[in-house]
Amino acid sequence: MGCSIRIRGLRTAWIGVFLAMISTVGAQEFIGTRVESLDQSLTPALMGVEAVALSENWSAHTDRVPNLGLSDDVQWIRVILDSKTENGMLLEIQNAGIDELTGYMICDGKVTASFERGVIASSHVESTMGTYPTFPIPLTECDELTVLFRLKSSKPLLLPMRIAGPREIIGDSHQRDVLFAAYFGVILVMLLYNLFLFFSVGDRSYLEYSLFILMIGGTQLVLNGYTSYLQIQSLPWLNHRITHFFGVFSGLTTIVFVQNFLRLSRYVPWLHKLLNFYFVIYLIAFVLAIFGQLIWSYNVINFCAAAIFFCIPGSIITMRKGYAPAKYFLLAFTIFIIAVLVFVLKDSGIIPYNAWTFFALPLGSAIEMVVLSLALASRINQLKKESAIAREEQMRSLQLNERLVREQNNVLEDRVKSRTADLEEMNSTMRATLEELQSAQQQLVQSEKLASIGQLTAGIAHELNNPINFVSSSAQSLRRDFEDLNEVVDAVKTLDPAMEDIGSKVEALKSKLAKLDIDFTQREIDELLKGIEDGTMRTSEIVRGLRIFSRMDGDNFIQAQVNELIESTLIVLRSNLKDVATVRYTLADNLPLVTCQPGRLNQVFMNIITNAAQSMEGLEREFEDNEVYIQTALTESIGQSWIEVRIKDSGVGMPEGVKSQIFDPFFTTKPVGEGTGLGLSIVMGILRDHNAEVEVESEEGLGSEFIIRFPL
C-alpha cells in the first residue's frame, strides 16, 4: 500500500544487469503471458490459500517477463497449467533473489503440494534443481491444475518463468555453471593478479581495482543464485541483505576506482565532487539496509546506479586532457555498457536469444576487467612517465637550486673572505697593540729593575765609601805616625853608650817622645791598623755579597742556599736600611739547598725587605721600634717539606683593601712618580715560577709579615 513503490521499466543499467542475470540460456520461451496476478486493492489482506485461488480478481500479464516491481507487500500470482501436457515437468522462476517464495499446487481447488523456495527458506538449496527455484508439477490427474505463488521480496520481483523438463533445466543450469565458472575464473585471476601487483608495486589503485573486481564478481555471484557458495545461510540477517551490500560496495568501489583511476580531482573536478555525492548516497543506502529499510535501500542503490553513465563523459574529458589511460577506461566501460544494452535488447526480444547474447553481460564484464587491467598498466606507465618527468623536473630544479646555492656560496665565500681579511687586519692590529703593550710592560719591568739597581748601586756605593774612606785615610795617617816613629827610631839609632853626652841626648829624645806623644801614636797605630783590617774585611764581604746578590745568571735554575741569598741581600741593603730600621734575623742552619733562580730570588727578598723598611720610614717614634725581622726555617705541611722565609716589619701595616691588591700590577700606595707598582707583581711572578706559596699577614699600625714557602 502506502509505502509500496513500483518501478516499471528498465530505468537503470543495474536493472539491466538484473534482467540479464535472470535470463537463461536454454529457455526459449517465457510464460509471462500466462501469468495472472491478484489485484491487491480488491483482495482482503487475510485470506486462505484456497480462498485466494478462488478469487475473482485475477488479471493477466502481457509481458514475456512479468515485473511486479519493488514492494514490501505480499504478492500473489498464478499460472493455469495444462494438466495433460505439463504434468511431471518443472516450473522454473529464473530469479534467485526472491526473499519469500512459496508455490502451491492446486488440483481442482485443492492444495495438493506446497514448496518453500525463498532466500529465507533454508530448504532452498537442497530441494531445488539448479541455481534457480523450481517447482515440480504433480502427475495427479486434475481437471484444473493451477500453481499459485506467494511472493515477498526486498528486491524487484522480475519473474522470467518457464516450464521445462528436468533434464533441460539441469542441463541449462550446468551450462550456466560452466559459463559462470569461467567468468569467476577470470574474475579470480584478475583479482589475484591485481592483488599481486598491489603488493609488488604498492600502487593503491591496484588494491582499489582488486576490491572493485571482488565486488562486481560478488554481485554477479549473488544475482545469479550462487549465494549458497558464500555459506551464509546460517546468517539470515546477512543473507537477507547480501544483495544490497554487494550493490552498495560494488558502487562504492567503482566510485573510488573511477575517481582515482581517471584522476577526476585533477581532470574533472565537478565529476569528482558528484561521485563523492554518490558515495555518500551509497553509504545512506548501506545504513538503510543495516536498519532493515531494504526497499528504500534498494531504491537508493538503483538511483545511484546512474552514476556509471558519468564514467563515459568523464573518461572522454580526461582523455582529451591528454591522460592516455583514459582511452582504455573508455573502451572498457563502453564494452560493458554495450553488453548491458545487448542483454536488455535480448530480453525485450529485439535481438535473438542465444548463448552469446545471454552471456553478453558476464562476457562484457570480463572483457571490461581485462581492459581495465590494461588501463591500469597504462596508468602505471603514465605514472612512471610522469614521475620520470617529475624527477627530471626535480632534477632540473635541483640543478637550478644547486647553481643558486653555488652562486650564493660564492657570494658568501667572498663575504667570508672579506670578513676574514677584516678580522685578520684587526688581528694584526691587535697583535701589534699587544706587542706594544708587552714591550711597554717589559720596559716597565726593566725600569723597575733599573730603579732597584739604581737604589742598590747607591746603597752599595755608600756602603763601600765608609771602609774605603777610613782605610785610605788611615793609610795616610799611618804614614805620618810612622814618620814620627821613624824620627824617634832614627834618633835612637844615633845613640851610642860611648857618647859622652849620652845623658843629655837621652833627655832630648825623651822630651821629643813626650812632644810627639808617642804613646798616643802607638795606640793610634793600633787603632788605625784595626780599622784597616776591619775595612778590608768589610769591603771584601760586601764584594762577596754583591757577587752572590748579582748572580744575574739567575735566570737559570741552580742549587742555592736561601740563607746565603738573604745574607747577601742584607749586605747590599745595609746602608739603605741603616738609618731606617734595625734588621734582625734568625737563619736556620739545617736548610737544604733549593733549586732556584738566585738572581731573581734576590730581587724578591730585596723588594720585600725594602718594602718592609719603607713601611717604617718617617714614623714619629723611637728608632728602636723600627725593626725588620727575618727568619728562615724548615717546615713540614701537607706531607711536604718546605723552606719557609718570614719577613716581618713593625711598620704601618695594611688595611684589607690594600692587602688584597698588593700583587696587582701597577698598584701602589706611593705618590705618583715614586713607584711603578710593579715590584710585588714581579715578585709574585718570580715566586710562581718557583712554585712557591706566599702568605701575607698584616694589621694596620702593627706591621706586616710576608711568609714565603719554597717546596723541596
Binding site: 747607591a458 746603597g459 756605593a461 755608600h462 765609601n465 765608609n466 771602609p467 774605603i468 774612606n469 777610613f470 785610605s472 785615610s473 788611615s474 795616610q476 795617617s477 799611618l478 805620618r480 805616625d481 793610634e524 787603632e527 788605625l528 784595626k530 780599622g531 776591619d534 775595612g535 746602608s575 741603616k578 738609618d579 734595625t582 728608632f623
Partner: protein, 179 residues
C-alpha cells in the same frame, strides 16, 4: 788651634779623622749626637762636621737640632753621593757651609776646615766690630743729647736776655718819648 767637632756613626772614620788632623786641629769626635751636643756646650767649637747617613738621626737633622743654641759654628756635611738631595736642601736653607763627599781628600778637607774656621772668625770679627760701632753710636747719641740739653739752656738764657733788652729798649723809648 781650630776646634773641630766630627760626628759619625762609623767609629773607624773617627779614628782616621783624628789621626789625620790631630796635628793641625783640636779634634773632637763622637758617634753619639747627644755626646756631640755636650761637646758643643763645653768646647769653643768653630767647625762641625757630621756624617749624613746615621741611624736615629741624619746629619741635616742634627744640624737643625743644634741651630737655635749654636748658630755660630760653621757646619759641614760628610756624605755619600746618594744623599745629594738632602745636601742640596740643606745648603739652600743655609744650614751648612760645605759638603764633603766620602772618601775625603785629606788636604782638601784640611783646607776646607781652615776656610770654615776663617769664616767663623770673620763672622766673629764682624760681630765684634758691629758691637764696637754700636757702642760708639750709643756714645755719640748720648753726647748729642747732652749738647741738645745744653743748647736748650742757652736758648732759654737767650730768651731772657732778649726780653731784658726789649724791656730796656722800651724804657729807653719811654725815656726818649718822655723827654
Amino acid at each position: 788651634m781650630i776646634n773641630v767637632l766630627y760626628l759619625d756613626d762609623e767609629a773607624h772614620n773617627l779614628t782616621a779623622f783624628r789621626a789625620a788632623f790631630r796635628r793641625d786641629f783640636q779634634v773632637h769626635v763622637t758617634t753619639e749626637p747627644t755626646e756631640a751636643v755636650r761637646i758643643l756646650r763645653e768646647q769653643p767649637i768653630e767647625v762641625i762636621i757630621s756624617d749624613q747617613k746615621m741611624p736615629k738621626l741624619s746629619g741635616v737633622e742634627f744640624f737643625e737640632l743644634i741651630m737655635p743654641d749654636y748658630p755660630n759654628p760653621v757646619r759641614m756635611l760628610l756624605t755619600g753621593h746618594a744623599d745629594i738631595d738632602a745636601v742640596i736642601d740643606a745648603i739652600n736653607k743655609g744650614q751648612i757651609y760645605k759638603y764633603i763627599s766620602k772618601p775625603w781628600n785629606e788636604s782638601e778637607l784640611k783646607a776646607l776646615v781652615q776656610e770654615a774656621s776663617d769664616l767663623f772668625h770673620h763672622r766673629q770679627g764682624m760681630a765684634s766690630e758691629g758691637a764696637k760701632l754700636m757702642q760708639r753710636m750709643n756714645e755719640a747719641r748720648l753726647h748729642s743729647t747732652r749738647i741738645q740739653r745744653l743748647t736748650e739752656g742757652q736758648v732759654e738764657l737767650n730768651a731772657e736776655k732778649t726780653e731784658d733788652i726789649a724791656r730796656l729798649a722800651r724804657e729807653i723809648t719811654q725815656l726818649l718819648d718822655s723827654n
